[in-house]
Symmetry: C3
Subunit: 121 residues, 3 copies
């Protein structure tokens, strides 16, 4: 076997060089295989992120619509509450009038108990 | 051309070794280029994820506020509904009183149709 | 130092081959280290994405519940509003009846101012 020698004169066999090259090739193979798997995971991640972006956009729209409905409900409830106060006040005023009619009626009932007396004397 | 030989005595030329090294270097270049692109995509992914985290946090806060408003609306609607029942009952009671006044008034109107007759006999 | 020679007859020393191999090994080391860090970042990204998926699912459920409550509130508010209209109409009808009683009472009060005069002549 012919040999190459390093500076110190130690023979470096072609075997050594070739086996070093083989080891390097083996490491590169592993690195490439790992990179391949990482690329697949990265693609899955990118798809997952796209889905999340779509989902959160939809949820934001849905919530915005809900927020609008809630605003309208707030407005509607204020109106209804105001109407109830209004009706309550009308009932109060009517209460005063009914009381007046009742009182006057009491008087009329008392007054109406009269007798006519006619005597000669 | 001098040559190295392997164990079997087959000459392995420097050309072979150098071209193997060149192939290895080429593969490493590809791996590095691919890694570079993957790192850029990973950085974009990380930014996209950060944005999503901010967005979902904001949406969660907005929804929480909406939830609070809805709770207050539930409470308010209960009160208004209770007030309406209350007013309705007052109107019912007033209805009874008005009916009594109407009935009594009917009697009074009947009673008031009286004549005084005085005769000498 | 023995040497190998390339086709042109230029001597390529074992030193050159070994130092090339060393450089290649160095580059592969860097690539592997970078790949390692990228794998760690990828794992963090995957965990962050899983968390986001859980969070957005929870938020979607919470919002769905809020949406249902809002629907019930819409329905409840419609009923209350309808009840208020109903009570208002009853108060109006009662108003008409009270007015009639008041008017008739006015007449009764006027009519009741009567005198009985009996004279001989």
């Amino acid at each position: 076997t012919a040999a190459v020698e390093d500076e110190a004169g130690t023979p470096i066999s072609a075997l050594t060089i070739l086996s070093l090259l083989e080891r390097v090739a083996g490491i590169i193979d592993n690195v490439q295989a790992c990179q391949q798997r990482m690329e697949e995971r990265q693609l899955e991640l990118e798809n997952a992120v796209k889905t999340l972006q779509i989902d959160i956009l939809k949820l934001a729209k849905d919530h915005s619509m809900t927020g609008n409905t809630v605003q309208k409900l707030l407005e509607k409830t204020r109106k209804v509450s105001s109407n109830v106060k209004d009706v309550r006040q009308r009932v109060e005023k009517q209460n005063v009038r009914v009381k007046k009619v009742e009182t006057t009626q009491e008087e009329l009932l008392t007054r109406n108990k009269f007798r006519v007396v006619i005597y000669q004397g």
